[in-house]
């Protein structure tokens, strides 16, 4: 009823109409804002962002505290991984396990990297039986400089690992500079990881 009376009076109408228009365009504004957020995300996915891969929040932070025991029976003099081992030179840290099929798929590339590049690859044997790890390395080759065992995921959780394989590029100061989720492909190596290692070494 009050609306009717206000409609009759001209100067009141002029103050009321803009407010109502503002309310009427509110849904449009909200839809555009939300649509913008969603469109941005979709565009990111189109540009290669994989929404199932978690971006590491540990980038540009120091490697976590580690004290991983060596793999018994492996004939390397220096073994096991401690934090200080990751603070002297640029290195790769690879999380793997003999149970992990994708690690097997990645393995030939790690062997190739070990053959052609002098960057040390440190292996974290995640949730693996030491005997199984050893057997696996005997069968497929051992590309690792150091190996540390991580039977109860201490290192894996400390590195924010969600699955194997995952590979971290650590600089000479022990700062995590890159994380690769899943098996590294030859393209990943030559286009991304190798150039990054060169850059970090300068």
């Amino acid at each position: 009823m009050t609306e009717e009376t206000s409609n009759e009076v001209t100067n009141e109408t002029s103050t009321r109409v803009p407010r109502r228009r503002w309310i009427a365009i509110l849904p449009v504004v909200i839809a555009v804002l939300l649509g913008g957020v969603f469109a941005k995300r979709l565009a990111d996915v189109k540009d290669g962002l994989d929404p199932t891969v978690l971006q590491s929040v540990l980038l540009n932070t120091p490697v976590p505290d580690l004290d991983l025991p060596p793999l018994p029976g492996r004939d390397r003099l220096e073994d096991g991984i401690k934090t200080e081992h990751l603070k002297s030179e640029v290195s790769l840290v690879n999380i793997w396990g003999s149970w992990c099929i994708a690690c097997l798929a990645e393995h030939p590339l790690l062997m190739a990297i070990q053959g052609q590049s002098d960057v040390p690859i440190h292996g974290i044997a995640w949730r693996d039986d030491p005997q199984a790890s050893l057997k696996w390395l005997g069968r497929h080759g051992d590309p690792y400089s150091r190996i540390g065992q991580d039977p109860i995921s201490e290192a894996a959780i400390a590195f924010g690992v969600t699955g194997a394989p995952e590979t971290f590029v650590v600089d000479a100061n022990g700062i995590i500079r890159y994380k690769h989720t899943g098996p590294i492909s030859p393209d990943d190596w030559s286009n991304t990881i190798q150039p990054l290692i060169e850059q970090l070494r300068q």
């Binding site: 009717e4 309310i23 009427a24 509110l26 849904p27 909200i30 839809a31 804002l33 939300l34 957020v37 978690l54 971006q55 590491s56 929040v57 540990l58 976590p64 949730r127 109860i152 995921s153 201490e154 894996a156 959780i157 400390a158 590195f159 924010g160 690992v161 969600t162 699955g163």
Partner: protein, 163 residues
């Protein structure tokens, strides 16, 4: 009758047993207060392998190791915030099943209410359109015209009224 009651009780007990827990008995802490806290924290943390379960619900091995870590930290005297922030530092906000209230998450928090508001506005506009508009009162000239027409029809109908 007694047999039915007994059967119902047995069924109930059986159903309670079926509600299996991912937490293995050997994981449970001896201190019930710490265990309670660890359980509550586990329910706040997302299993990063299965992604839609808490680590308390998940049977994934990584979830079990995360539960172990939560219990270890709680036993060592970490506060609830310490435990959660330890996980967030490593896995990001994603690991929290309940999103934190901060600007990056505002869409998540306010989005549904914003959409509800949109709906309310649309409904309001629609209802307003449905409401019949009250006609503007007739001008004096129009009223006179109508009165004249009424008088005319009145006299006509009075003239040929069906008997």
């Amino acid at each position: 009758m007694h047999r039915y009651i007994a059967a119902s009780i047995a069924a109930l007990i059986f159903m309670l047993g079926v509600q299996a827990l991912a937490v293995d008995p050997y994981e449970v802490l001896e201190d019930p207060v710490l265990e309670q806290r660890a359980r509550a924290l586990s329910q706040e943390l997302r299993c990063v392998v299965c992604q839609n379960e808490s680590i308390d619900d998940s049977n994934a091995e990584l979830a079990r190791d995360m539960r172990r870590l939560v219990r270890q930290r709680v036993t060592q005297g970490d506060s609830d915030e310490d435990v959660l922030s330890y996980m967030v530092e490593r896995y990001g906000d994603f690991v929290l099943l309940r999103p934190q209230f901060k600007p990056q998450n505002y869409v998540l928090w306010f989005g549904p209410f914003a959409l509800l508001l949109c709906g309310a506005v649309v409904v309001r506009q629609y209802m307003r359109q449905q409401k019949p508009k009250t006609p503007t009162p007739l001008s004096e000239a129009e009223q006179k015209e109508i009165a004249a027409l009424m008088a005319e029809t009145d006299s006509e109908s009075a003239g040929d009224k069906p008997s």
